[in-house]
């Protein structure tokens, strides 16, 4: 592995991933939560693309993989927002803290 270059990309990806995870788990606004998940997936994309060039065995597969990730992320985001809209219509709020109708 071309350690230097790869590791800087990987570090960036790791940071993005952690920010995304933090946001997804702690933010109150549902839209931000969804965005955070997108951030996590994009961190993965960065990782994949970086590793496809600087990995142990460089190959194109990583970039192909990232295409699929992008697609899936798009679908997930689309459905996430759709569900959020349905929820907003029922509940009138997009605050994650208000999603507690089902505690027991």
């Amino acid at each position: 592995m071309t350690v230097d270059l790869a590791s800087s990309y990987l570090t960036l990806a790791a940071i993005l991933f952690c920010i995304g995870l933090f946001g997804a788990l702690t933010k109150r606004n549902a839209v931000i939560v969804l965005l955070s998940i997108e951030l996590m997936l994009n961190a993965v994309n960065l990782n994949l693309v970086a590793l496809s060039k600087y990995g142990v065995v460089p190959s194109l597969t990583g970039q192909i993989f990232s295409l699929f990730t992008i697609t899936v992320a798009a679908a997930e985001a689309a459905i996430g927002v759709a569900i959020l809209i349905a929820l907003f219509r029922n509940r009138g709020t997009s605050d994650v803290k208000d999603m507690n109708e089902m505690k027991r």
Partner: protein, 507 residues
């Protein structure tokens, strides 16, 4: 990999993909039917057609069973082997029962206006599960998994006017998204360290090169993937979403999540960790052993947490969700009890328990559908006095509950028994103890249902009407549970004959 060297799909290969194609075509056709038919058209027909499509697909799968040499399609990324075929049958059966349960329920409790969509959404979801079972490539695994997940997100949120449904769906999509990200992140490292997304190539690369050089990253990859898969199979400590999501989902959808979705998660885990990490490790970093030790700990945690939390539940859907958490723990045990001198992979045990789990869980949800149709809620007290209102149904539910609790002579009992036997063979005494003690704890809440039905009297005394579809689903599950209990031999022998570790995973 230039395009010229790609192993392309041949027309002759389509025969191997017949089960999947059946579902795709059916989904497309049904969606068009649903679109083009007038409003007066009874959408239940689509439900029945869905069952027909599932049966057709199952027939194709059954025809392929018993392959000597697995078929690899699409540049080695898609495998038709017995491991996958058996699981596919399982998925299809589970889906069919879920659809059957739906057919016995009120339209408003499922998808309301979108009942047509509701029915044919089962097809792509199941297709996703089947792809997961068959794929030997990270990309394919991921795509299959996401097809399943994303479809189920929608299915959970299908009841747009019901607030809990949307809430459950939102929680599900957030947790599902996070878990996908974890799995992907782990996969990206695995890819980076081997330069391939093919599981066999990954395994070969890791074994050849030795892992000392980048062991840390490999461990990171493993734990990331495990976390993600832990979410998907709802194993503790990654189970927190399950009760909420199940409660929000329509009953058959919850059943689908509990059975098919979970089984697909196991297919993923089994294939990924067995093929990917088989005999990978070095003296300094015994990755392979660590992987399975971690899984053992996860199994124990799931069993303990799931059963402990289920004790307090009054809502049956939440209860079943947590029972599903515990069952995820049980199902992990045969995966942990892997290759030893006289024990090769717990595949037969795993699948046997999955079959039993399928029927008992589907039966439990069918029972819930019957009861909540009458009472209008999912609470435990809806079962009160059921013995007086519908004795036969109560009896069937007893059979199902016995199977869930693992009391002989039922499928659930034998499932657990064989899992335990495997664990004991591998000298995993502590895990066996945890498993059995926690399943005794589960008696308390499973028999809670029986207490309600036989020892309490409900607010109403009028007989409960059981719709034919629900009745069939319930009795079929109960009967299957009992049959599996009395005659476990043929099924297990069949599984044992079909599955070959060396060919199914490494050919």
């Amino acid at each position: 990999m230039s395009p010229d060297t790609l192993l392309r799909l041949q027309v002759s290969d389509l025969a191997f993909l017949a089960p999947e194609l059946t579902l795709v075509i059916a989904a497309v056709v049904f969606s068009l039917v649903d679109l083009l038919m007038p409003r007066s058209f009874n959408r239940s027909a689509i439900g029945w057609l869905t069952i027909v499509a599932l049966a057709g697909s199952a027939a194709f799968v059954a025809l392929q069973l018993g392959v000597d040499q697995p078929v690899s399609l699409l540049n080695q990324s898609y495998r038709v082997d017995d491991f996958a075929l058996v699981l596919k049958l399982l998925f299809l059966a589970g889906t069919a029962i879920a659809v059957l349960i739906s057919l016995g329920m009120k339209k408003e409790d499922l998808g309301g206006e979108d009942i047509g969509e509701y029915y044919y959404f089962y097809l792509p979801a199941t297709l996703g599960a089947m792809v997961v079972a068959s794929s030997a490539d990270l990309i394919m695994l991921f795509v299959g998994l996401e097809l399943l997940s994303i479809t189920t997100y929608v299915m959970v949120g299908m009841r747009k006017r019901v607030s809990v449904s949307s809430e459950g769906a939102f929680k599900y999509i957030v947790m599902g998204g996070i878990s996908s990200a974890f799995i992907l992140y782990g996969m990206s490292f695995l890819y980076g360290l081997t330069g391939s997304t093919n599981l066999l190539e990954i395994n070969a690369a890791l074994r050849e090169s030795g892992i000392d050089q980048f062991a840390a990253l490999l461990y990171v990859a493993f734990f990331l993937m495990l976390t993600g898969i832990g979410f998907k199979i709802a194993a503790a400590p990654f189970h927190s979403w399950a009760p909420d999501v199940y409660q929000g989902a329509a009953t058959p959808v919850a059943a689908y999540l509990a059975v098919v979705s979970k089984a697909a998660g196991f297919a993923l885990l089994f294939r990924l960790f067995y093929t990917g990490f088989f005999q990978v490790g070095s003296a300094k970093y015994p990755l392979h052993d660590d992987v399975f030790l971690t899984l053992a700990v996860l199994a124990a945690a799931a069993m303990i947490v799931g059963n402990a939390m289920a004790l307090r539940q009054q809502n049956v859907k939440r209860l079943l969700a947590l029972s599903g958490v515990a069952n995820a723990g049980y199902l992990l045990v045969p995966i942990v009890a892997q290759v030893g001198l006289f024990h090769v992979s717990g595949y037969a045990e795993l699948v046997y328990y999955m079959i039993a789990y399928l029927f008992m869980n589907m039966g439990a949800f069918a029972a819930l559908a019957i009861v909540s149709r009458a009472s209008g809620h999912d609470d435990m007290r809806g079962f009160a006095g059921l013995y007086h209102r519908a004795p036969a149904t109560a009896f069937a539910i007893v059979l199902i509950v016995l199977s869930l609790a693992g009391i002989p002579v039922t499928g659930g009992f034998f499932g657990k028994l064989f899992i335990l036997l495997g664990a004991v063979e591998m000298k995993l005494f502590w895990l066996a103890l945890v498993m059995i003690v926690t399943s005794v704890v589960s008696f308390y809440y499973y028999f809670g249902l029986i207490r309600q039905m036989f020892m309490r009297s409900g607010s109403e005394e009028s007989p409960i009407r059981v719709t034919p579809a629900l009745g069939v689903a319930l009795w079929m599950s109960a009967a299957a549970g009992v049959l599996l209990g009395f005659f476990p031999g043929p099924v297990l022998n069949g599984l044992e004959r079909l599955f070959r570790f060396s060919t199914d995973f490494f050919a």
